[in-house]
C-alpha cells in the first residue's frame, strides 16, 4: 500500500491549487488524474479570464494552467496521470487504476476535485455524428487544432455556449445561430456581444427540434418554445449546418463522494446534487475535502480559490500552519471569493453555497 499525507483527485485548477497551497506549507501531496495530461479544462481556455486583477484576471486559461503546473512541480507535488480512482473506502483508502494495474493508496486527507461532466439533451437525430458537446468542440479546436465543422449551430447561451461560439469563430468555423430555450442570454453579456458583433444571431426561447442527415448532421430544425417550454406550432426554422454543439449545462462528477457517504444536497443553482461542505471545504466525512465544480458548478477562478482554501485547511489540520496565520489567510481567500460571488450572476451561487453550509450544521 502506498501512503501519502494528502491525495488530490483531479489535476484541474481546483486540484492543482489545493496541492500547491498544501505543499507550500509542508504537506506531502500526490495528485491523480484520469487524463493523459494535467490541467483539467484550463488548457482549452484560450480566452482572457474575468475577475479581480489579484486573482489572475485577464490571464488566459492555458497560461494559468502552465504556471500552476510549474508551481506544483517546484514544490515537489507528484502528478500521476492516466489514473482513475475507482473507489474510496473507510479511512481514505482508495483503489486507483494506474495505467494497467490497480494500486491501493492511503491518504491522511483527500481533496476531491473531479470537476463536472456536460449535460446533453436528446432530440431526433442526436446520435448522428456531428452532434457534439461544447467541451469536445474546444478539445478539437484548442488542443488538437482540428476544426469541428464548417458551419455550426450552438445550443445554449450560457458562458460555455457563448465562449465556445467565439472560439469556433476564431477557429474559422461559421456559427449559424446561438439558441437557448431560456428567454434570456444566460452568459455574460460581454461574451455574447463579442459573438453578436460578428453577425451571429441569438434566438432566445428556441430549442432543437431535430437534426437532419443520413450518415451525419446535414442540418437542423429549431422551434420556438413558450413560457411552459412547449414548442409553438408553425415556428420551425431550418439551418444548413454540419455540426450541432451542445452547451446545456454541467453536472458535478460526485460519484466517489457518494461512495464515501458524503452528505449530498440538491442545489439546482449549483448544478444538481452537491456535497455539503464547510468553510474549509471539508465534507460531512472528516478528512474528505472538495473544491471546484464538483462542489458546485462555478468557474475556474473560484475553483482555484476553493482549492487554496482546502489545501490551507489541510495543512492547518495536520499541524503545518499555526492558528493565527491560518485564519488570516483563509479569511483573505473567503473575502476574494465573496467578490466573485457578488452581483446578479454570483448571488444565486452564493445562496446555494449557504445552503450547503447550513446542511453541515445539521
Amino acid at each position: 500500500m502506498q501512503r501519502h499525507e494528502m491525495v488530490c483527485i483531479g489535476a484541474g485548477p481546483a486540484g492543482l491549487s489545493a496541492a500547491i497551497e498544501a505543499a507550500k506549507n509542508g504537506v506531502q501531496v500526490a495528485v491523480y488524474d484520469e487524463n493523459d495530461r494535467p490541467g483539467g479544462q484550463l488548457f482549452k481556455q484560450i480566452h482572457k479570464f474575468f475577475g479581480s486583477r489579484e486573482h489572475r484576471a485577464m490571464e488566459r486559461g492555458f497560461d494559468i494552467g502552465k504556471s500552476l503546473l510549474e508551481e506544483a512541480q517546484s514544490l515537489d507535488v507528484q502528478v500521476i496521470l492516466d489514473s482513475v480512482v475507482m473507489g474510496i473506502y473507510e479511512n481514505a483508502t482508495m483503489n486507483i487504476m494506474v495505467k494497467d494495474h490497480v494500486e491501493e493508496v492511503k491518504a491522511e486527507k483527500v481533496v476531491v476535485a473531479t470537476g463536472a461532466s456536460e449535460n446533453m439533451i436528446p432530440f431526433p437525430g442526436w446520435t448522428l455524428p456531428g452532434v457534439i458537446g461544447a467541451g469536445a468542440a474546444q478539445t478539437m479546436a484548442n488542443i488538437h487544432g482540428v476544426r469541428p465543422g464548417k458551419r455550426l449551430l450552438m445550443v445554449g447561451s450560457g458562458n460555455v455556449g457563448v465562449v465556445v461560439s467565439y472560439q469556433m469563430l476564431q477557429a474559422g468555423c461559421e456559427v449559424a445561430v446561438v439558441i437557448d430555450a431560456a428567454p434570456e442570454v444566460g452568459g455574460y453579456g460581454v461574451h455574447a456581444s463579442k459573438v453578436a458583433r460578428t453577425g451571429v444571431p441569438f434566438y432566445m426561447s428556441h430549442t432543437v427540434k431535430k437534426a437532419h442527415g443520413k450518415d451525419r448532421v446535414e442540418g437542423a430544425t429549431i422551434v420556438q418554445v413558450d413560457e411552459t417550454w412547449k414548442p409553438v406550432a408553425g415556428t420551425g426554422k431550418s439551418f444548413d449546418v454540419d455540426t450541432i454543439c451542445l452547451a446545456v449545462g454541467l453536472n458535478p462528477m460526485s460519484q466517489v463522494l457518494r461512495m464515501a457517504n458524503c452528505e449530498m444536497v440538491y442545489v439546482p443553482s449549483l448544478g444538481g446534487n452537491i456535497p455539503a461542505h464547510d468553510l474549509n471545504q471539508e465534507t460531512s466525512v472528516p478528512g474528505i475535502y472538495v473544491a471546484g465544480d464538483v462542489s458546485g458548478i462555478e468557474e475556474a477562478s473560484s475553483a482555484m480559490i476553493e482549492g487554496n482554501i482546502a489545501g490551507l485547511a489541510i495543512a492547518h489540520s495536520m499541524g503545518y500552519v499555526e492558528n493565527d496565520p491560518f485564519h488570516e489567510q483563509r479569511d483573505g481567500f473567503l473575502e476574494s471569493m465573496k467578490g466573485l460571488r457578488a452581483g446578479p450572476f454570483g448571488e444565486k451561487r452564493a445562496e446555494g453555497k449557504r445552503m450547503l453550509l447550513e446542511a453541515m450544521k445539521g
Binding site: S52, G189, G343
Partner: protein, 167 residues
C-alpha cells in the same frame, strides 16, 4: 435593463445611454477617449489598474460597473486589450472633418494591414459601410489581443464595433 443584451446578445442604444463608461459627444469631439460598454455587474476590475491616468474607477467592490472620468482620459487605448470582455473601445470624433477613428480589440487571424479597406459592422454584426484600417497594434504586453484603428464616417463612430475583410 438588459433588454437588448439579454434578448439579442448585444447592447441596445437605450442600454448604452445608461452605462457609466460612455463619454459625452462633446468630449468625443475633443479627441480620442475610451468608450466602456460594460453594463452588467460582473466581478471584474483589470481595466481600473490598466489606466495610467486613473480615468477608470471600479472601486473596492469588483462587481461595480466601471466609471469613466472623461476629462482625465487621454484615449491611450491601454485598457482595450486588458478588458477580458472586449467591451472597451476608443472613439475620436476630432480626427478629420468627415471621418472619425474607432479603435477596437481584435482576436482573429489574419490581422488586417494598414491601408486595407474593410467592411464595418455594428454591434449586431450588420454591415454599415466601409472603413479604412489606419493602424494595427500588437505588442507582447497586449497578450495576443490586437487593437485595430479604423477610420469611419463621423456619424458611425458610436455604431461601428467590428469589421470583416472584403471578399
Amino acid at each position: 435593463m438588459y433588454e437588448g443584451l439579454k434578448k439579442r446578445g448585444y447592447i441596445s442604444d437605450e442600454e448604452l445611454k445608461s452605462a457609466p463608461g460612455i463619454p459625452s459627444a462633446e468630449r468625443r469631439r475633443k479627441g480620442p477617449v475610451a468608450v466602456i460598454e460594460c453594463i452588467q455587474c460582473i466581478p471584474c476590475n483589470p481595466c481600473e489598474a490598466s489606466c495610467k491616468v486613473n480615468a477608470i474607477i471600479v472601486g473596492d467592490d469588483i462587481t461595480n460597473l466601471p466609471h469613466l472620468d472623461e476629462d482625465k482620459c487621454v484615449g491611450c487605448a491601454s485598457c482595450i486589450p486588458i478588458c477580458p470582455g472586449q467591451a472597451i473601445f476608443v472613439v475620436d470624433d476630432g480626427f478629420e472633418e468627415m471621418r472619425s477613428r474607432v479603435m477596437i480589440p481584435y482576436e482573429f487571424l489574419p490581422l488586417p494591414q494598414e491601408g486595407d479597406v474593410v467592411t464595418a459592422l455594428d454591434r449586431s454584426g450588420k454591415e454599415v459601410g466601409d472603413a479604412e484600417v489606419l493602424n494595427v497594434r500588437k505588442k507582447e504586453n497586449m497578450d495576443k489581443t490586437a487593437v485595430v484603428t479604423l477610420a469611419v464616417s463621423e456619424q458611425l463612430s458610436m455604431g461601428v464595433r467590428f469589421f470583416k475583410p472584403k471578399k
